[in-house]
């Protein structure tokens, strides 16, 4: 049985050779042993550059926002289960046309973080074997999600008092250098002109100052409410290790509790903040 890398190369080669796609986005070997890098493969000969292993942590769906890919008639993209969830979000919000993208899904037993640990998303993973795809590489992997993995993270912050929570984020956001790597890495941060770049009026102060950092980080999380599929791309990209996923997870919990909605599952579903119910929670409004 050929391994996942071989199968990915084979499918990509076939697609590129018969003109099914103009290019395939995937991972290639990185600059050192436990790194991979994104690669855009445009010809069948180049397909051998593609790899898949536990270091393929990046979510490549963020590249679908790029004009170079948007301009293509059809593009192939290699996607793990978690990446497929963000692609479903993009299709749901009409950011990607389903028939313009060929999904080369790959079954995934889990990836590793830079420090060698297993990400929360992998411990909680329900989509080791993606079910939304055009072709799939790899033998199916049975999911064995730890139902508490996500909530365990939140319990740390739930246990803090109001002042402690404020202090916690005050310290964390103080590290922010406003590089916007979180935004760039996020497949669902889709605005071509981000609110942080608008200066008439200047909603978010752009210098790395506590008040501006607070606004930026809150608004970034808020704009992903009901949309974030918890792929952890933002947190992985953050050069100063701000636990951004804590905010995203807290919002995901609220969306699940209040609107009974989980993103990244149904490309036909209406996003929870684009709709409402007459009996939505009204208890906090005077």
């Amino acid at each position: 049985m050929p391994d996942r890398t071989e199968q990915i190369r084979e499918i990509a080669r076939k697609w590129l050779a018969d003109g099914t796609v103009e290019a395939v986005v995937g991972w290639e070997k990185g600059t050192h042993a436990n790194r991979t890098a994104p690669v855009l493969v445009r010809s069948p000969d180049e397909a051998d550059r593609l790899v898949f292993d536990e270091n393929c942590t990046n979510n490549l769906m963020t590249y679908l926002k790029r004009p170079v890919l948007k301009g293509m008639q059809k593009v192939g993209i290699v996607a793990k289960g978690c990446d497929v969830k963000s692609l479903i979000g993009l299709i749901q919000e009409s950011q990607v046309e389903r028939d313009k993208v060929k999904i080369l899904a790959v079954t995934c037993p889990g990836v590793k973080k830079d420090d060698g640990t297993v990400p929360v998303k992998c411990r909680a993973c329900e989509v080791n074997t993606p079910e939304f795809f055009d072709e799939r590489a790899g033998e199916p992997v049975t999911s064995n999600p730890d139902p508490n993995a996500r909530l365990q993270e939140l319990e740390k912050i739930d246990a803090l008092s109001l002042e402690e929570r404020h202090g916690f984020w005050r310290t964390e956001f103080d590290k922010c250098i406003r590089c916007y790597a979180c935004r760039q890495a996020c497949p669902l941060c889709i605005c071509s002109r981000c609110i942080a770049e608008k200066n008439q009026p200047q909603w978010v102060e752009t210098s790395p100052h506590p008040a501006g950092n607070f606004s930026w980080n809150l608004i970034r999380a808020y704009h992903l409410a009901g949309r974030c599929v918890e792929c952890e791309a933002c947190e992985t990209a953050c050069p100063v290790n701000i636990p951004l996923m804590l905010m995203n997870r807290a919002l995901a919990r609220t969306v699940k509790e209040k609107f009974d909605y989980e993103p990244g599952k149904d490309p036909e579903a209406k996003p929870p903040l684009r709709t409402f119910r007459l009996d939505d929670d009204n208890s906090f409004i005077l």
């Binding site: 109001l162 100052h209 506590p210 905010m247 009204n282 906090f284």
Partner: protein, 155 residues
């Protein structure tokens, strides 16, 4: 206003400190309700600064953050009761936004007693007066929003 961030409510009140409250209210219901309070010669605390928005659906959480950045001690968002929206469903959409935004503020360690939401109709001038009065009292009890002030003054 010369307020140090360490002010406890008692000393703040003693120093003649008055809270600054920003109210984002919808054109069709709460604004008209506030207008009714005025034309009915009802009195309410002058601590509230009213900013009219076309609908609570227009409310953007950035408005609130900006208000706090510019020194607000409390923010009130108010509009038409469910079912009464001039645009049919603006307030229903707003309610969902409030729900997630409030939960994010909670996680971020912002005191939710400084953030109020209400539905006040055009005929509820009394409810406007009562809400603003109660909110002002609450903020007076809590003192200046020193946790936010500290972020503005830092660096």
């Amino acid at each position: 206003m010369e307020q140090t961030s360490s002010s406890v409510p008692a000393t703040a009140a003693a120093a003649g400190w008055e809270p600054r409250i920003v109210a984002f209210i919808c054109n069709w219901c709460t604004y008209t309700g506030a207008d009714l309070a005025g034309t009915s010669r009802m009195k309410y605390p002058a601590n509230v600064r009213v900013i009219k928005i076309p609908c609570t659906g227009r409310f953007d959480p950035l408005f609130m953050l900006k208000a706090f950045e510019r020194g607000a001690d409390g923010v009130l968002v108010s509009g038409c009761h469910p079912g009464d929206c001039h645009y049919s469903e603006g307030n229903y959409n707003a309610r969902r936004k409030f729900t997630v935004w409030k939960s994010l503020l909670h996680t971020a360690g912002i005191d939710l007693e400084r953030v109020w939401f209400s539905w006040i109709s055009a005929s509820e001038g009394g409810k406007w007066v009562e809400t603003v009065a109660r909110f002002t009292e609450t903020i007076k009890g809590k003192g200046p929003f020193s946790a936010y002030r500290e972020m503005i003054d830092a660096g």
